[in-house]
Symmetry: D2
Subunit: 330 residues, 4 copies
Amino acid sequence: MEIMNVQLAPNNARLTCYLQDKSDAMPNVDIRPAALVLPGGGYQYCSDREAEPVALAYMAEGFNAFVLRYTTGMDCPLDKSLQDARAALAYLRQNAADLRIDPHMIAAVGFSAGGHLAAALGTQSEEKPDALVLGYAVTLGATWAPMGRPSEPNLGDLVTDTTPPAFIFATQGDTLVPVKNSLVFADALADHDIPFALHIFPVGEHGLSLARPCTSKGDLSKVNSDVARWLPMSISFLQDIWGALGVVSPRPELRAQMGGGKAGLDVPFKRLLKNPGAAEVLQRRLPEVVGILRQNPLLKGASLRQLAGFMPDAYPEDLLRSIDEELSKV
Amino acid sequence: MEIMNVQLAPNNARLTCYLQDKSDAMPNVDIRPAALVLPGGGYQYCSDREAEPVALAYMAEGFNAFVLRYTTGMDCPLDKSLQDARAALAYLRQNAADLRIDPHMIAAVGFSAGGHLAAALGTQSEEKPDALVLGYAVTLGATWAPMGRPSEPNLGDLVTDTTPPAFIFATQGDTLVPVKNSLVFADALADHDIPFALHIFPVGEHGLSLARPCTSKGDLSKVNSDVARWLPMSISFLQDIWGALGVVSPRPELRAQMGGGKAGLDVPFKRLLKNPGAAEVLQRRLPEVVGILRQNPLLKGASLRQLAGFMPDAYPEDLLRSIDEELSKV
Amino acid sequence: MEIMNVQLAPNNARLTCYLQDKSDAMPNVDIRPAALVLPGGGYQYCSDREAEPVALAYMAEGFNAFVLRYTTGMDCPLDKSLQDARAALAYLRQNAADLRIDPHMIAAVGFSAGGHLAAALGTQSEEKPDALVLGYAVTLGATWAPMGRPSEPNLGDLVTDTTPPAFIFATQGDTLVPVKNSLVFADALADHDIPFALHIFPVGEHGLSLARPCTSKGDLSKVNSDVARWLPMSISFLQDIWGALGVVSPRPELRAQMGGGKAGLDVPFKRLLKNPGAAEVLQRRLPEVVGILRQNPLLKGASLRQLAGFMPDAYPEDLLRSIDEELSKV
Amino acid sequence: MEIMNVQLAPNNARLTCYLQDKSDAMPNVDIRPAALVLPGGGYQYCSDREAEPVALAYMAEGFNAFVLRYTTGMDCPLDKSLQDARAALAYLRQNAADLRIDPHMIAAVGFSAGGHLAAALGTQSEEKPDALVLGYAVTLGATWAPMGRPSEPNLGDLVTDTTPPAFIFATQGDTLVPVKNSLVFADALADHDIPFALHIFPVGEHGLSLARPCTSKGDLSKVNSDVARWLPMSISFLQDIWGALGVVSPRPELRAQMGGGKAGLDVPFKRLLKNPGAAEVLQRRLPEVVGILRQNPLLKGASLRQLAGFMPDAYPEDLLRSIDEELSKV
């Protein structure tokens, strides 16, 4: 393994790069997915407990890992930290070949304030990571208020169709960063049909990191075998969207959900409505349906085929067929 | 084992009781926790895939199980189904000794429409179960609208401090019952400090039941080893709140969260504010804090001790001590 | 579910049949695999802790289950208990259609003395189950000696090519039935190329059953989450050999290992040598190899192709090809 | 993290040291357990697939890791490789403080030939590691014969009371190193009452390493989620004997089994017999029992209390009490 410390302009943030050895015996890992680890610490410092041990956990599953010690401090505006995260992401993409990583498989893995930073990178930044892993992350502006940052936005409000898929976990026993931070962000992802996983565990205080002995600092309340399942579940999630190292394929369902794909009877209304051509077909051929969807946005997850299943008389087969034909051309 | 079918007044709903054998070799299971299983089926029917196999999964962990085939049908008002669920719960409580169950350890385990019924039992009913397990449950009124039930309430709006703890799971691939149904209900529980677990998996269609081969009806898309972890995780959750059969203790954190406990510096503001005496102390001694909490309800999860940690100058030790003394007397 | 008690001739042993309900919603479980549960108890009694709870654990994975309370007692010869087990197996096979089970997917699941009975059924009986699950089973004759049964055989000595595949687990902390009982039986299975799994856990006394709270009789030393993994691992094992309920296929490797298959360069020597035709080809064409195998039986697991890989000069391609041709005809 | 390459005398074998960063935030990991990783490769080379990825898997659980590239080659006597392993172990012990490891928590983790080397270090070496992790390890001399090493001993024959505890796994589908290698070694450990875990999985070829995508070299047959459980199970095993990083205690049962402890009625005969004083008491007071144990060594795992339970008339309470008193003084 090679350990490399890089100073990133303009703030001299330190990016520690953990690069696994290349080996002829393992050609499938010549290029690896990447975990960009963003430790927490209330933007006051970067916690070691959420740095190297997390990098190692991802490396043990085949990732190359990168720990960013971003700029922090009472007087440091969050923009400056975000600048560092952006610089790290750009560095990874620009040097992907040298770092032996796939520039389209970069997960930003952040905890607490670092989770805020990861989520900001996924919403407030032009260039975005390819996935987010958010541990007890702050996303609600109000959470910052008592720490003297009164006007931070709710990151969930900034979610768009280009926000990357996200794995989210938190514990209800966390009194510092209430789980609402995770719930509201997940809700925004759901609204935009962005693939996500959400795991809220009932027991556990703030800052569990891996919830293993090695990140517990000797405190039994920071070891929790239920919560510790978040790490392998996050690996599963990233495999679902990216596949794994040439032996596991991505889940076709998520590929379809993320990738657009062709318009048709089986495509959820919400995806059709984002496609101007398909939206025009729906509006012209089924204006009453578009009206219902406007009144009841919950239904947008269903497809025309599903709707017709409920009301076969209203939507006979030949009608469906002719609409399908039109959709296939958009 | 004894299988017993009971007809419940007034609608003649059928309750199938699965009672494990009593044995002198296992005195710790003379009295067992109970799972009241409420299958789904859109209030049109009760799905076998979410009935007996689920009962067996809980029995294998030591529960006695009860499957309710509640009244359904296009023209059946949901109140009638709820009447059945209430009758089943009352039957279990009234006959707890004969059924060899603990009348204070009854979990209502429902799926889809049955999950709606379980959640309704936990919110709209005077007599409530002791825990809820909600699988891809409907909780938003709008979900019912296209099925001809336009005016159902959002069950999350009915959550109060007396709603029981809930284990919730769903899959984002579920286009029939969008995950928002689970997110919004969990959010309401969070607001009321009710212990809950929430697991949303990215992949999986509606109606996975146990997500094991035995509930798949031979359809591979209904087998998912990630989603299948909900069952053991739900057992963990119920153990966290109840303990298990004399050998596992309940988690003291959840006991405290549920049970009130004594007022003091370490108790979250939200619990203090629900206690009139403690609320009076706070209002009198720290009116500015109460003002902040009113403006920023997110902070109510924190305790006075945590707040003082951030601002030691504003809240010196002797002030804290004297407030603690007052709180300890309420 | 239907519970049925059957008295089996000639000893009136009681077989409790647990038959899951049939449902049009789950056509893939019209026919289920079967678990014939044989509780332990030193042939003095049948332990409830290893009876119904185990049946339920298998039912929760889709099995129909059958608990046999075989004849026991200080003066009862083991043959009589074996007679009961044989009768139960025959009953299951003869009534497979009525019991809705596959007569070729019957696992005998035994613990301690019941594990001895299961292993005896797999070795000393003409009619054999299709798989064995052996929990801290007695297989060594010497284990019985101090209990007044001085002349029981070592069941490992009776293993033949027709012994069914076996899942075996035990704990080293078991001072009553030393793990050697499991090791020696597994070794005999290995010698005969019978598929098996073996899991010996370091910690745990005799008689853990499922190692869950529900089988602990309130004794914490009988709950062990590591050991409790035996049950799902046994389900995996049975799926590897049988597949699962129309959605999971059997492992082709095990099918090949069990089923013979065609002779050829890739087939382990030990399987070739059991096939008289193939053995003749080997003896004639490669007498020196047969000699080596006789001296070093460990090598019998390798194939001719593997051997040639080590020594390409001694076994050139055209030689291999011509031998392969001969083998393909036997 | 610091990566350090050390050349070890006398053969210039390369030891790569992976030392996790020290941090004030995690005082409980100032000193860590150590994994000395010994890759396989038939003593012809050291396989990268069993080197760094394995080191990372242990580091992710809190270990510092050390990969030894020992001397190999057709003409290299195995003694020379063992010399390297001994040198590595001595280096770790002598530099424990600098390497931030506990010199009494060093596990030798070897695979295939590297597993042979680990087992040799635990049996043929004066200075021994504190635990062994053996993956599809060669232990039977006959396995080496066809590779031109005809006179290697069976390592199981060299097991003594000072052999360290061992975690052992293998797959029955391994035709290169038959599972008998693991079975026979485990049997020797059982005979000497050395704590061990043994996991033999039915499916899987030779050389699975972690059985994860990252060690698969892109070959699906080298990914197996059942077999992949060996790594966390090995962590559990090492925690059972050593505890974990100040938050998990060692299992008292294993401590007792390893450490001797006081003589008494509840101590297995085999431990009593190793203690000269206790052996004398037994021989004098219960010569007939010592005779039985000589004839039936299997019984040595039982205690006098257990024996008396079977035969209360032969061993009345006051006899037991007086023997206990004598034993307590030895």
